[in-house]
Symmetry: C2
Subunit: 190 residues, 2 copies
């Protein structure tokens, strides 16, 4: 039987992630590669700890970390708990606004090109830049489906004033996915 309808849905931030983030909080990490390096560390760590091999983080224009998220689909029974969704939700609640645009030019750094759901979330978040490591093809090679994205997503984001930068540390980002696949981690939407 089903449990009672809950009074809230919690997207947990694992304690290791909270501790990891506390270590870098207040530290400026400037440049796409330096920010991506942190995100890839989080993706690899999440993968080792039973989550999906994906992470995302949001940074201010001066390189301060606003929020980080990792994929929690399997451990949290949460099909929508992709890294970008968790990072955006965390950023909104941390800053106290649904419109991150109101707090400056923020950048979402994602270890892998966002899936259809997460790409749809990018404009709603108010971030001004999207930085991507691995491509869809790398995710598909690991067995993951990225969903049905419109082909013109880069142009659409550009038309909204959102700058897109791809292939940042792509080989390292793709390696996180390949390592996960090689380890036999669950593919929850293949």
């Amino acid at each position: 039987m089903m449990a009672h309808h809950p009074s809230s849905v919690a997207l947990a931030i694992p304690s290791w992630l909270g501790q990891r983030v506390a270590l870098v909080d207040g530290t400026a990490r400037t440049g796409d590669e330096e920010q991506m390096r942190l995100v890839l560390e989080l993706a690899a760590e999440n993968s080792r700890r039973g989550g999906g091999p994906f992470a995302a983080a949001i940074f201010t224009s001066s390189g301060e970390l606003v929020a980080a998220g990792v994929n929690r689909v399997v451990p949290d029974s949460a099909p929508i708990a992709h890294a970008e969704i968790v990072a955006i939700a965390t950023a909104g609640q941390r800053v106290g606004t649904w419109n991150l645009r109101s707090v400056g030019d923020l950048t979402l750094v994602s270890s892998t090109e966002p899936c259809a759901m997460c790409m749809g979330a990018v404009p709603w978040s108010g971030v001004r830049s999207l930085v991507i490591g691995a491509r869809d093809a790398d995710a598909r090679s690991a067995g993951f489906d990225e969903g049905n994205k419109p082909d013109d997503w880069p142009e659409h984001l550009a038309s909204l004033g959102i700058d897109v930068r791809v292939d940042v540390l792509r080989p390292a980002a793709a390696a996180v996915l390949a390592d996960y696949a090689a380890s036999g981690g669950p593919i929850y939407n293949g």
Copy 2:
């Protein structure tokens, strides 16, 4: 200054919704129209209480309510807290699985055609049917943006074995949106 990075992100289920859902829990509501009627009541109530004019619910094939969600973007500072996302996340945690397909043929009933983000979430949820009230055009008339959806979304969902039924109580569904716009409710992504 920002608060500390949280240990979890809560998508709150308002207490009125919990109470409303408790009243119907265990009651079979069969047929798209009867299910949509409940969803539209929730959308209107959420709108009156400071949320967005959107609701969604997930039902079993025998018409039992699994989970309901309402739009909490503005009150919860959560750009991703659309009704469908909240309903899917709630259903997963309530049933205890990331793959709702494993618990039977579930139906997601949405007061308005899902936006790009929520449409992307539908395949990840594992629901087998999607029932829609208002159309994109009705949401746009109220000032809301629905995002950049691929034109072939109905065919794509069909190709995944997800049955799509549109225009269920559409005039009543569109009226919830129009009432919200007339009342001057915030348009958070216009």
